[in-house]
């Protein structure tokens, strides 16, 4: 089996570490990573607990295929209750940390309680230790990573940690690993810091050697890699342009949320697109994109490594930013760029560097700045609030000011660190917050992509594209094209994407493989690696079970069907441009049908019958 069968439980209050076997009965029901760790969470955590209190738990989890030779098999997730949304949170990351933790022999680490002083966990195979983090508390991710590498005198350790934003209580702080990969959304980093836990350092020498049928696994993973290689998206488009290839697609389709979602096309989109990242800059003749990069075991390599012009105002006298570093993904380019009306590619790349450096979710941050800019232009937020900086749409200076302030936890950064919903409420305009369940939207306007409105409204962690990416079908034609402006059939489509994604997220694989793979490609790899007869059907049912389990946790936490909605702007103000011009999102037409096919009541409650069918 590809599970290590070992769970580490770390009681931070008492400073005690224990080992226990993985609950294999649950592993058969919930597989790993998102599914299995959420099962532990719902069994062990009171859904009504304070997300930033000692009763919340913080679970770092791998999947059965993490650390194996399967392509993209390097993923890990962080599962906890979110301080931003009050719902279940599960944030997924790539890089190398997850595979290293698995190679050290651990499926999962459950952190409980709260340490009386800053600590970090050091894991070297079976040798595990809580260590004093006094010298790295207050340091950025990048500084702390360097200090830890020097301290342990080991270039091969992999580190997941939080930056200053999390320590300062920014509600959308990320856990960053390998300097610029992040479990980004829902404030999971804020929970980690609330426990006085600065970092998890992993060094694994065991590998993942207990594959059920190694020969069959070799064949199945080879076949999977062939499919990825021969597919135009995973074999060509993603390595060359990364996710940023979407900037022009979504803009041309009229679904580009612009200036706090007031508009649906951004005139500066091309300047911050994947194509533009390849073009030499006028200033120094170099392109923004330096190279692409891959996470552990990945044969796609969609990652962006970028360099900002040394003469650019953002880094002119700051040589620490002159090196190549983690560049823009589409979501970050949108939130820092289009949503703020900023078309300065180097400025948004720098803002993205700072998000990595101090563990800030760029989606939530950028969307919160967008709301601040709207409030500023209305005269509600003034220079007095911002410390003298003009927060007009289009101002790269304001964006840079905002990110530096959030990173440091200073001045107006403290307002921005609340997230869009709380900040807009503070200034008396909750209607200007573009959020669902208090989490900021990603980069697709649901007036132009109707199914995404339903996916956002019903997402178990608030507005999110990674919980059901119907954009693939509605815009990109994967696996087949549907009409983005139609509402018919979207309830089924959203459910199918949500369930399949939950299965991918529980395997240890990257969900980007789903642009080329279906669960039919995943099942043979899992089945060769793990006991339990993993078929496509079993995976579909697994996904549905996970979805309903998360939904129940949220209901008990007080987040219910009444929260399955969208901001008024998207339901009442028509799109101003593109094919969706004149349209709003017609959530009301899709939601009742969605509840029905989910087997929920008309209020969106999971019925006993559905629970029974899914073995919940």
């Amino acid at each position: 089996m590809a599970w290590t069968n070992k769970v580490m439980r770390v009681n931070l209050t008492e400073g005690k570490i224990t080992e226990e076997p993985l609950n294999m009965e649950w592993a058969q029901q919930y597989l790993g990573q998102r599914g299995l760790a959420t099962k532990y969470l719902v069994e062990e955590v009171d859904p009504t607990c304070d997300a930033l209190g000692p009763d919340n738990k913080f679970i770092v989890t791998t999947g059965p295929l993490t650390g194996t030779m399967a392509s993209t098999g390097g993923r890990y997730s962080v599962v906890t209750k979110s301080p931003l949304t009050g719902t279940v949170a599960c944030s997924n990351s790539g890089g190398y940390f997850g595979a290293e933790l698995k190679a050290a022999g651990w499926d999962m680490i459950i952190f409980e309680g709260k340490s009386p002083k800053p600590v970090y966990l050091y894991v070297h195979d079976d040798s595990v230790q809580l260590m004093d983090a006094g010298d790295i508390w207050g340091k950025s991710v990048w500084e702390a990573d360097e200090i830890l590498h020097k301290k342990h005198q080991d270039a091969l350790i992999k580190i997941a940690l939080v930056g200053r934003s999390a320590e300062n209580g920014c509600l959308y702080s990320a856990v960053v690993n390998d300097l610029h990969r992040a479990a980004g959304r829902s404030g999971v980093g804020t929970v980690m810091a609330s426990k006085n836990l600065k970092a998890v350092v992993a060094r694994g020498t065991k590998g993942v050697g207990n594959i059920k049928d190694p020969m069959r696994f070799l064949q199945a993973t080879e076949e999977g890699k062939r499919v990825l290689r021969e597919n135009a998206v995973t074999g060509e488009g993603l390595p060359k342009y990364g996710t940023q290839v979407l900037m022009n697609v979504i803009n041309e389709s009229g679904a580009m949320p612009t200036r706090n979602m007031r508009e649906t096309q951004f005139e500066g989109a091309h300047k911050i697109s994947g194509e533009a990242m390849h073009e030499p800059r006028a200033s120094d003749g170099q392109p923004n994109l330096t190279t692409n990069a891959a996470c552990f075991g990945c044969t796609i390599a969609c990652g962006r490594i970028s360099t900002v012009d040394q003469g650019h105002f953002t880094i002119k006298n700051k040589p620490e930013y002159w090196k190549a570093s983690g560049g823009l993904e589409y979501e970050a380019a949108w939130s820092l760029g289009s949503d703020n009306g900023v078309d300065d590619l180097d400025a948004i790349t720098y803002a993205n560097f700072v998000c990595n450096e101090d563990g800030i979710d760029p989606i939530s941050f950028g969307a919160t700045v967008a709301a601040a800019m709207e409030l500023y232009e209305m005269g509600v937020i003034t220079n007095e609030h911002t410390g003298g900086m003009a927060y007009n749409f289009g101002s790269a200076e304001a964006l840079v000011h905002g990110v530096e302030m959030v990173a440091a936890g200073e001045g107006f950064g403290r307002d921005l660190a609340l997230g869009s919903r709380r900040m807009c409420e503070k200034y008396g305009h909750p209607e200007l917050s573009m959020t669902v369940k208090s989490q900021e939207f990603p980069a697709y306007d649901p007036r132009g992509i109707q199914g995404m409105g339903l996916a956002y409204a019903t997402s178990n962690r608030g507005a999110c594209h990674l919980r059901g990416y119907t954009v693939a079908s509605e815009i990109l034609g994967i696996p087949e094209k549907t009409d983005p402006l139609a509402t018919e059939g979207k309830a089924e489509l959203v459910k199918a994407f949500q369930d399949a994604t939950a299965a991918f997220d529980s395997s240890g694989l990257c969900v980007f493989t789903s642009f080329a793979w279906t669960l039919d490609d995943v099942a043979p790899q899992l089945d060769a690696a793990c006991e339990g007869g993993w078929t496509t059907e079993k995976l579909v049912e697994l996904g549905e079970r996970i979805w309903n389990m998360e939904r129940e946790f949220n209901r008990l936490a007080g987040v219910t069907g009444k929260d399955d909605t969208l901001p008024k702007r998207l339901l009442e103000e028509a799109a101003n441009a593109g094919p969706a011009q004149g349209k709003v999102n017609e959530l009301g037409k899709m939601l009742p049908e969605y509840y029905k096919i989910r087997g929920w009541t008309a209020d969106g409650v999971v019925t006993d019958e559905t629970k029974q069918r899914l073995g919940l």
Binding site: L238, Y241, V245, V249, H270, G274, E275, Y330, V471
Partner: protein, 83 residues
């Protein structure tokens, strides 16, 4: 009539060298079809995956029809995805 042709991602190389922001203005017959423009610029048909006129999707069967009008924007991508 004149239309604007936009070729994105790996298809960008098929545009004339002086094109900017992946776009060029082209003169086409009044009854030109999207597929004729696709062939004119040597875009391999299977690589013309996503074809939009003014942002609206043009299904493969409509690409043989004279659906273009003066000043339309015809935008084309190979299979792409992100997230």
């Amino acid at each position: 009539m004149k239309i604007t042709l936009k070729l994105f991602a790996t298809l960008g190389d098929l545009l004339p060298a002086e094109s900017r922001e992946n776009a060029t203005v082209v003169e086409v017959p009044d009854d030109a079809t999207p597929n004729q423009v696709i062939d004119m610029f040597k875009v391999p048909r299977p690589m013309a995956h996503l074809v939009l006129i003014n942002g609206g999707y043009v299904a493969p069967e409509r690409r043989e029809q004279p659906v273009l009008a003066e000043n339309d924007v015809l935008a084309i991508w190979p299979p792409v995805a992100g997230g």
